[in-house]
């Protein structure tokens, strides 16, 4: 899938009502995917840290082996996510300026989304599920 190269993390126009506004629909796939990819990358990073920290606390040999396998798998996955993000232009580890610009735009876009009334009213949705005891 080809994204518009630049600037994927910027909203085209200020959002007023919701993400379905035509003016902003244009860059939306890139915005969504880059955000999710960053979340995914941070998760992978945390996973690596958690496994490494756990290893320093565990003495049992079998557990150590299993956790080490997990750690290795996490590191591989993290590398793959990084590679994909660099290929798509979502992540620029070697151009810090570019990265900062992108992150600032993402932050602005996120702020605008956070400001929207996306889910107005009662969201309990009880009645659509079998919840007799709620």
């Amino acid at each position: 899938m080809d994204y518009e190269r630049k600037p994927i993390n910027a909203l085209k126009k200020p959002m007023r009502n919701d993400y379905l506004e035509i003016a902003n629909a244009e860059g939306m796939p890139g915005l969504v995917d880059s955000t999710i990819a960053l979340n995914f990358l941070l998760n992978a990073k945390n996973g690596i840290r958690n496994c490494a920290m756990a290893l320093t606390e565990i003495a049992d040999p079998q557990s150590r082996t299993e956790v080490r396998n997990m750690l290795n798998a996490s590191i591989d996955l993290h590398a793959q996510i990084t590679e994909l993000m660099m290929k798509k232009g979502w992540f620029h580890p070697y151009q810090v300026n570019e990265q900062f610009k992108l992150d600032k735009m993402s932050a602005q876009a996120a702020l605008q989304i956070a400001n929207l009334k996306l889910f107005p009213g009662d969201t309990s949705r009880l009645g659509t599920f079998a919840t007799p005891n709620y």
């Binding site: 899938m1 796939p29 969504v32 995917d33 999710i36 990819a37 979340n39 995914f40 998760n43 992978a44 945390n46 996973g47 958690n50 496994c51 920290m53 756990a54 606390e57 565990i58 003495a59 049992d60 079998q62 557990s63 299993e66 956790v67 997990m70 798998a73 996490s74 996955l77 793959q80 996510i81 994909l84 798509k88």
Partner: protein, 68 residues
């Protein structure tokens, strides 16, 4: 073979990893319905598969121990 309890801190660490992996697996599975990019989706599914394996292994390990 003598059933040996893990030390408390070992059990805690494994338990925390289990929680983390469970949440990662759920998130990655859920978010697959949102992404547009198919390569990203493939990686997410890979994460789900890895996490499933991890969760099984961790459950297996934790089943051998009783928190004191």
């Amino acid at each position: 073979m003598v059933q040996q309890n893990f030390a408390l801190h070992e059990t805690m660490e494994l338990h925390e990893l289990l929680n983390f992996k469970t949440i990662c697996m759920t998130t990655s599975k859920m978010i697959q319905g949102v992404v547009f990019d198919q390569e990203l989706k493939t990686l997410l599914e890979k994460d789900v598969q890895q996490s499933m394996q991890s969760v099984n292994v961790l459950q297996e390990l934790l089943s051998k121990t009783q928190p004191q």
